[in-house]
């Protein structure tokens, strides 16, 4: 047991908008705090009173079940009251802006707004108009910080470290907020990042962030300690970016045969929901390398940590 825990930097942010703006130390502070909350999740009584009386609103302008459920449960485990607001497309087309909607919800006493929106930068804009803490639960193709944090936590818990590992992000990088947040987080924590997918889905300009870009999965897979398989977003029009699912699967699908040529201790992550048979085969998804379910558990711990940390900042007077 750790008799004398290392001092950590105090958390000073009221919002969590993305990993790009966080320092390495801040990311580590979240991961360490999440480790503490992981312990809470192992108890029979999985609840602590820290956020009693606080109100956490899930403000989702885009469909999501997993992230919303995970945030709700995380808030409940901290004894906060939670409320979901699935933004009806109707109220927004009636001329009410999302800022109006958010202000309305804040007037109901929300202390934390967990925001999912299809447009990049929307949570950032919101922070200029509300007093509550804002947590970005995914803004378009920009960032999805808690997903990347749970990926980082999963890697750290299962491999003991992140620094020095080679992590491959495979698939639709261009449209992926998960990819962007992962890139920032992994690079800050000292991992090597390889982006892999067809050129139409992997913008080469991302090399400027310090990643390696490859279009050949078979070439880069053996180099990877971790592979994070990003989802092909069929809700977007992908016809223009690759000719067929069959061809995509042939080139980038994670099959058992491919995994056999990878490192024996390869760790396989997928942010989900996955398309079995497109990004990876069922046997790989359920196989020994897969940490997909650990990710879900760690997601709770990460979201508890983030809710706890942002709630610790004094809010402006209303």
């Amino acid at each position: 047991m750790n008799l004398n825990p290392a001092p950590r930097i105090p958390w000073t942010r009221k919002h969590l908008l993305g990993l790009e703006e966080l320092s390495r130390e801040e990311i580590l502070a979240i991961l360490d705090t999440a480790d503490s909350f992981h312990e809470v999740s192992t108890r029979n009584r999985k609840k602590v009173p820290a956020l009693t009386g606080r109100v956490v609103f899930n403000l989702f302008f885009e469909n999501s079940t997993r992230t919303r459920t995970s945030f709700s449960l995380a808030a409940k485990r901290l004894s906060a009251d939670t409320q979901d607001f699935q933004a009806g497309v109707s109220s927004l087309t009636k001329g009410e802006t999302f800022i109006d909607t958010a202000k309305n919800i804040e007037a109901m006493g929300a202390d934390v707004l967990v925001v999912r929106h299809p447009t990049p930068g929307t949570p950032h804009l919101l922070t200029q108009h509300v007093h509550a803490s804002v947590i970005n639960a995914g803004d378009g193709a920009h960032e999805h910080p808690t997903q990347a944090l749970l990926d980082l936590l999963t890697i750290r818990r299962l491999r003991g470290r992140i620094e020095g590992l080679t992590v491959g992000l495979v698939g639709d990088i261009g449209h992926s907020r998960v990819a962007r947040s992962n890139i920032h987080g992994l690079l800050k924590l000292g991992a090597k990042v390889i982006l892999c997918g067809p050129p139409t889905l992997v913008p080469r300009s991302l090399e400027r962030l310090g990643c390696t870009v490859s279009n050949n999965l078979d070439e880069v897979l053996p180099l990877c300690d971790v592979v994070n398989v990003l989802r092909i977003q069929f809700e977007r029009d992908q016809k223009a970016v690759f000719p067929s699912i069959a061809e995509y699967f042939r080139l980038y699908g994670l099959t058992a045969a491919r995994v056999e040529r990878a490192k024996s201790d390869l760790l396989l992550l997928a942010p989900g929901p996955i398309n079995r048979g497109v990004e990876l085969t069922p046997e790989v998804a359920d196989g020994p390398h897969s940490a997909i379910l650990d990710q879900v558990t760690n997601g709770l711990a990460v979201r508890m940590a983030v809710l706890y940390l942002v709630s610790g900042q004094k809010t402006d007077p209303r």
Binding site: L3, N4, P7, T12, E39, P49, A50, G312
Partner: protein, 176 residues
Amino acid sequence: MPRSDTPLLDADGVDQALTSMAVRLRAAMLPGVTLVMVGVRTRGVPLARRLATILTRQTGETIPVGAVDITLYRDDLDRAARWPVLHGTEIPFDIDGADVVLVDDVLFTGRTIRAAINSLCDLGRPARIRLATLVDRGHRELPIQPDVVGLLVATTRDEHVRVRLHEIDGVDEVLK
């Protein structure tokens, strides 16, 4: 309030106090019930470890030691300008039905102990919880009393009592 730093215990004094606390803990053990130690973070943890070592030396039995972080159970979170950094509860054993000794460095208002007891009760249902503190300086705000104390000190409310331990501070001493 100037810190006069009057020494109350030196390293030997701390040793003697802990030894005498261990003797008293042992005298009131429940027969047939597992004895475990839980230190309150931060300085309660090395104290719990030391008491366990002394008792093991005396009884030959290994005594499990855990750490409880009371942050999430504090009643003054909303008053703090900035919330404390969380270090986590680490109790890698079952406390259901155990004879728990809760260990802390200084007993003052009793609010920390209240939070620690709540925290323990969320982890299981111990047979008994006893409280052992190195120093009791009075001024309770809750009906909480220690079972075993190393040193009773009369203080005014605004005085500071500081416990320094070599595991953390490099030296063993108690100062007022």
